[in-house]
């Protein structure tokens, strides 16, 4: 799955996973088909926003028309998603199209809102399927049980020994953000952990 995008640079924008992804079905795929689906989300605009001005925050959320989420949660959809990162710090994610940064900069005072573009610094993998939580359980001590980590929850954790942000998009759909430089290794570990369930890369 690749996002639609209209960026003039899209042709040259090369993902950190460009050299490792093989499409198809792998591992212990049974007659009922793979129980996991893995794909990269790319290219994305990923913008970190810092501000401690609640007024400003409301204005921005009006501009983006997505509410800023509270601790450990996310709001929005695939078109535009906001993740809680830390105190007064959020991550805005959307498929690359317009320059979100300028959009905000034009509206707001740079001494109140601090933006940092991380679009290229993170690789994003979507993990989907009935065994998705089992894979996460192999790599991190967070309680991934549906009752404690449902839809629109997010966690910043140590996943397979890497700093990762996990966004629960839906009951069995997870977006995982990790540092670009580790993307190839992370991919290898992830599919190795997924092999016993059988997975499909699209």
């Amino acid at each position: 799955m690749t996002e639609v995008n209209t960026s003039k640079n899209s042709l040259r924008r090369q993902s950190g996973l460009a050299h490792v992804i093989n499409y198809g079905q792998f591992g212990n795929v049974t007659l009922n088909g793979p129980s996991l689906f893995i794909c990269e989300r790319h290219p994305l605009t990923i913008l970190q926003l810092d501000t401690n001005k609640s007024k400003t925050l409301t204005d921005i959320s009006n501009l983006l028309n997505v509410e800023f989420p509270h601790t450990n949660t996310c709001n929005g959809d695939d078109k535009r998603r906001i993740l809680w990162l830390g105190p007064n710090r959020w991550l805005i994610v959307e498929p690359e199209h317009e320059c979100l940064q300028t959009l905000i900069n034009n509206e707001f005072n740079s001494s109140e809102v601090f933006l940092t573009d991380l679009s290229h610094g993170k690789s994003t993998v979507r993990l989907r399927g009935r065994n998705a939580r089992d894979v996460l359980m192999k790599g991190s001590g967070v309680d991934w049980h549906l009752n404690s980590f449902g839809a629109d929850y997010c966690a910043h954790t140590k996943l397979f020994d890497l700093a990762a942000t996990v966004d629960c998009r839906d009951i069995d759909v997870f977006d995982i953000y990790i540092a670009r430089g580790f993307a190839e290794d992370f991919w290898g570990t992830l599919v190795d952990a997924a092999a016993e369930f059988g997975y499909q890369v699209d």
């Binding site: 830390g86 967070v142 140590k158 700093a163």
Partner: protein
């Protein structure tokens, strides 16, 4: 393993944190006329208690916040956690300071 309750992220394995150390040390004001002993005390001397220890950890794999932890160095029981500005020992007063 310790499970540290990050005030923001909730209970997490201590492997997600980086240990900073004794949280009771006060850094001499940068401006003040240099008092060598104060700096020596701040940088080098530690109470190193056998019992309750107020310490700092950074949730470096999570929200990156520095978290204060009140922990028993003999049993590893964690009594309380909070933000750097919190004074956990006061909060938990009534606790015997050396177990």
């Amino acid at each position: 393993m310790l499970i540290i309750n990050c005030p923001l992220c909730g209970p997490r394995d201590h492997a997600e944190f980086t240990y900073v150390g004794d949280a009771t040390k006060n850094r001499p004001k940068n401006g003040d006329s240099s008092n060598d002993n104060a700096w020596y005390d701040f940088v080098y001397l530690r109470d190193n208690p056998k019992g309750l220890h107020e310490e700092l950890w950074q949730h470096s794999f999570g929200c990156r916040c520095f978290v204060k932890v009140l922990r028993n160095t003999l049993t590893h029981e964690i009594i309380a956690t909070g933000m750097p500005k919190d004074n956990l020992i006061l909060k938990e007063k009534g606790l015997e300071l050396n177990v």
